[in-house]
């Protein structure tokens, strides 16, 4: 029996200790008419050899198209050491560290993770992870509403330059608590959220402003001005950031006069493979004064009976297993293993390494944009500063062009037209450090052939 070690003899012995004749008797409290006799529609069990064959052929069937797509998931190099260590049984098969003394490995690692995230974001504290960037943004919104004591409002300013799926996810999660996500328009010439666009809410009570840096189009917002604007009117600032970009860009803790209040985003660029969208993790950092409003687990350093340092889950009184219906969030299981990978990833890369990766992604994208923009029928529509993603406009419908590229084994980018009608024929492209000059040229040649 797969994964059931019992021999016939043991089963007999155990039943006799229990005092029943057969295993089925243990289910005698279940109403007989509800009992089923197995699951006939489930396929027969496979051996490991058979499932290996099946999965290998399915994985192979999906091919390896050349990826110039970003839009929230990025094709980065991950050192071999990262997942080899992460999948060690002791990390891979342990539960949430409820028994601290028997889980110092995981706990210390999370403490190190929290320390790395505060270093990257220049914020005071970090939690141990949320599910992903999009749902993490929802938690940040809920947290901001709780944390902003000065504001009575449940309104959040949400620029349209925030990843549209993040906006949708956020809304799906916060909509039941009378929270209103107020859309702020994009400046169509710069692709940015401007102070002008915020003007309508100048005098309104607003709980928080979301600032995405870079924004969904890869454009760099004027984070100092936006942050100051929000703080001046008593709104909190939720920074939505790509953590890899922070190796180069000004960290949220240093935005404006006071820094952002909450920083969140998706940890995928720091060691998680693209893997069809998950598991990634949502990170969240905040200023010290808001720590008790932060959702999710937090690890703290403490002492043992001999005054040796050790690590425990702390501030648990915020969480659902203690506070129940009054908890900061319902989150329980988080994305621990991906955090493990990410911590090892950051340690391997170091500050310089991460900065070089970020710079190299950016340079590759610059070079890609240059080469594509040289093609007849391609136009770069925003020209301010950006980071490693860019919007291109074709002289043909984007869907058509992308399909033609896909037939040539190229994922050409993200089609912006359905979410942004005003960006008709536009796509979002990205070339990470993984894309070689040859591959960039392949793209350019393929696109030229399609457009001309």
């Amino acid at each position: 029996m797969p994964f059931v070690p019992h021999t016939e003899e043991e089963i007999r012995d155990m039943l006799s200790i229990i005092g029943v004749d057969k295993i089925d008797n243990l289910f005698d409290e279940i109403p007989a008419h509800l009992k089923i006799d197995g699951l006939a529609n489930i396929p027969e069990g496979m051996t490991e050899m058979e499932i290996t064959r099946l999965m290998s052929s399915r994985a192979a069937a999906d091919g390896h198209p050349l990826c110039f797509m970003g839009a929230g998931a990025y094709d980065h190099h991950i050192p071999a050491a990262v997942w080899q260590i992460t999948t060690r049984g002791e990390f891979y098969t342990s539960y949430t560290p409820y028994q601290a003394e028997a889980s110092q490995g995981t706990l210390q690692l999370i403490y190190e993770y929290q320390s790395m995230m505060t270093a990257l974001t220049a914020m005071d504290v970090s939690n141990a992870s949320l599910y992903d960037g999009a749902s993490g943004l929802a938690e940040a919104v809920l947290m901001a509403v709780r944390a902003n004591r000065k504001s009575k409002s449940r309104r959040i300013l949400m620029p349209r330059s925030v990843n549209p799926v993040y906006q949708k996810t956020c809304n799906a999660i916060v909509c039941h608590q009378d929270i209103e996500l107020v859309t702020v328009d994009i400046d169509t010439s710069t692709g940015l959220t401007t102070l002008d666009a915020l003007q309508p809410w100048q005098d309104d009570d607003i709980a928080a402003l979301v600032i995405s840096q870079p924004n969904f189009f890869g454009n760099l917002e004027d984070v100092d001005a936006l942050t100051n604007w929000a703080h001046e009117k008593g709104a909190l600032v939720i920074a939505l950031v790509n953590p890899l970009s922070l190796a180069l860009l000004k960290p949220p803790g240093e935005w404006g006069e006071q820094g952002a209040d909450i920083a969140c985003g998706d940890g995928q660029p720091l060691g998680a493979p693209m893997s069809s969208g998950g598991p990634y993790y949502g990170f969240m950092c905040c200023q010290k004064q808001h720590v008790r409003q932060m959702p999710g687990r937090i690890v703290g350093c403490t002492l043992d009976q001999d005054d040796r340092e050790g690590f425990v889950l702390t501030l648990q009184a915020r969480e659902q297993h203690i506070r129940r219906s009054k908890a900061t969030s319902n989150i329980c299981t988080n994305q621990g293993l991906v955090v493990t990978a990410s911590t090892i990833h950051m340690a391997l890369l170091g500050p310089q390494g991460l900065a070089r990766v970020a710079a190299s992604c950016h340079q590759n994208t610059v070079s890609l944009v240059e080469k594509l923009a040289a093609i007849n029928g391609v136009e770069v529509i925003f020209d301010g500063a950006r980071f490693h993603e860019a919007v291109l406009k074709f002289n043909k419908p984007a869907a058509e062009v992308l399909a033609a590229l896909a037939d040539k084994n190229i994922l050409g980018g993200y089609d912006l037209s359905s979410e942004f009608p005003e960006l008709d024929n536009c796509i979002l492209v990205c070339a990470t450090e993984m894309r070689s000059d040859d591959e960039i040229n392949t793209y350019a040649q393929a696109l030229e052939a399609i457009l001309c």
């Binding site: 994964f3 200790i17 409290e29 109403p31 509800l34 089923i36 197995g38 699951l39 489930i42 396929p43 496979m46 999965m55 052929s57 999906d62 198209p65 990826c67 050192p79 060690r88 049984g89 002791e90 990390f91 539960y95 028994q99 601290a100 003394e101 028997a102 889980s103 490995g105 210390q108 690692l109 403490y111 190190e112 270093a119 970090s126 960037g133 749902s135 993040y166 949708k168 100092d224 180069l248 893997s275 998950g278 403490t302 690590f311 297993h321 506070r323 129940r324 219906s325 969030s329 319902n330 299981t333 955090v339 090892i344 170091g350 310089q352 390494g353 991460l354 500063a385 399909a403 993200y414």
Partner: protein, 485 residues
């Protein structure tokens, strides 16, 4: 030692990043970082050594018996990991066109179908990323259902007092108020109290069956009828699905919505805290509300269902499609088990739990619900030890660690004093159960003859008992945030 303490300024492992990169000229200084992030600067070897050694400081399924009640810590087959991490799966961009996704989508489609089958539900979405998010999606669907019928007066969710904390917390997130229903001493929900509580304000009831007390809710049909009659919906918290897999299906019991913790019943690893999956299933009337995305099949081609196909969906729970890698692992596990394996999971999980309970009772321990069969887990209460010997359930738990066993769940469910919730799972061999029983017996003897020994435990782990109060008072949440001594 922390990784930061191994750091030396200027040290690096060059091979992990492009060797050089030109300085960034096209970003204004004001938007750039002024000083490098204070991340550790260490060699690859130091990293490998540090984290390998850290890992050794964990108990885990791969090293220890880990009978953590309500968590279903069973064997995590290694094949699931290997196959979910095949390069083709790892490198797939979540937004890759369907032509480059048929292999992956086939797995998701079949997983949806198998989950429908084992739960008796009409449709499944794999979107939620853990049990709690599954609960959120489930309760949000209940609300969407009532709203769609313009039945706006239902503001309350009923939750038994034995429920997991995520249940009430979820109800709040969905904008409901929570009403607790008491549990009888025999472990069943107090149906009279339920009947008194139910009414036109009732949106629904969240229930785990078997409950967190480790017994099957015998009045489930009456409960279902009560809720349904009042116009409410029935939510099944699938954390305990392992107990009934292939024996009885939540759909057949009358549940309208269910989440399944794939990281429990379907054995995806818990990874020191996650990731998991809280896939949600619904009966027919709730189908339009399932969260996105889902996979469907048209003319032998798999395609994604989106907002266009499902305008009433409660929406998206994540940027892409949830914890895809976890879903692949669960899929592999289910295919390995197959038709013949599913019901054996419930049978042997139940056999193991009842065997342990019988043995412990015979050795003098007090079961919380002594006169009924256990499901896949059971509770012993150490309230007399606490009272007479001043040795608490926590002390027993810590001493178990010394003896090489991970402790059971302690102090949950909240209504049983000084409790240990013990869930052995089907994958443990009889020797492991016997060893654990002997360990508890030994600790009982120690508690009687030398209680200080038990109260001082653990002794053999990397640290002695940690001061949790200090941790919460003198917050130290990041390296360098407060000066070290």
């Amino acid at each position: 030692m922390l990784i930061f303490e191994h750091s030396t300024k200027g040290r690096s492992t060059k091979i992990q990043a492009p060797t050089s990169a030109d300085a960034i000229k096209d970003i204004p200084q004001a938007l750039l970082r002024a000083t490098p992030a204070a991340l550790p600067e260490v060699s690859e070897m130091q990293v490998v050594r540090h984290y390998t050694s850290l890992s050794q400081k964990n108990f885990s399924i791969d090293t220890h018996f880990y009978p953590l009640g309500s968590c279903t810590m069973k064997h995590n087959p290694r094949a699931c990991n290997t196959l979910a991490m095949l390069p083709g799966f790892l490198s797939r961009h979540p937004l890759a066109p369907e032509q480059y996704s048929q292999g992956f989508m086939a797995c998701m489609y079949e997983l949806q179908a198998m989950l429908c089958d084992v739960t008796g539900m009409a449709g499944f979405s794999l979107a939620p990323m853990a049990g709690a998010q599954g609960e959120f999606a489930g309760v949000a669907m209940m609300r969407a259902y009532h709203d769609a019928r313009e039945d706006f007066g239902r503001k309350e969710i009923l939750v038994p007092d034995a429920a997991h904390g995520t249940n009430p917390a979820t109800a709040t997130m969905c904008g409901y108020t929570v009403k607790e229903i008491p549990t009888l001493d025999n472990g069943d929900v107090d149906v009279a109290a339920l009947k008194a509580a139910v009414g036109p304000q009732t949106a629904g009831l969240m229930l785990t069956n078997p409950s967190t007390l480790g017994v099957f809710e015998r009045n489930i049909e009456e409960i279902a009828a009560t809720i349904h009659k009042a116009g409410g919906l029935l939510y099944y918290d699938g954390a305990n699905l392992n107990a009934i897999l292939g024996k009885i299906r939540p759909g057949d019991m009358g549940f309208d919505v269910i989440h399944s913790n794939l990281h429990k019943t379907f054995s995806t690893p818990h990874g020191g805290g996650g990731p998991g999956s809280g896939a949600v299933g619904v009966s027919k009337r709730l189908l339009p509300f399932l969260p996105l995305p889902m996979v469907t099949k048209d003319n032998d081609v798999y395609r994604w269902l989106t907002e266009k196909d499902c305008p009433q969906s409660i929406g998206r729970m994540s940027a892409f499609m949830g914890n895809a890698g976890v879903l692949l692992r669960a899929y592999v596990y289910m295919r390995l088990l197959g038709r013949e394996g599913m019901h054996r999971v419930a049978e042997f999980a139940t056999l193991n739990a009842n065997y342990m309970m019988a043995q412990l009772k015979a050795r003098g321990f007090e079961a919380a619900i002594p006169d009924r069969h256990a499901s896949h887990e059971f509770i012993i209460t150490l309230k007399s030890q606490a009272k007479e010997l001043h040795v608490s359930a926590m002390d027993f738990a810590k001493r178990l660690l010394d003896l090489g066993y991970h402790a059971p769940t302690t102090y949950f469910p909240l209504l049983v004093p000084e409790c240990l919730l013990i869930e052995p799972t089907e994958s443990e061999a009889k020797e492991a159960l016997d060893g654990f029983i002997e360990a508890l017996v030994q600790i009982q003897q120690e508690a009687e003859t030398n209680p200080e020994l038990v109260k001082g435990a653990p002794y053999t782990l990397p640290v002695k008992r940690l001061d949790e109060v200090r941790a919460a008072k003198q917050l130290d949440l990041a390296w360098g945030s407060i000066p070290r001594t």
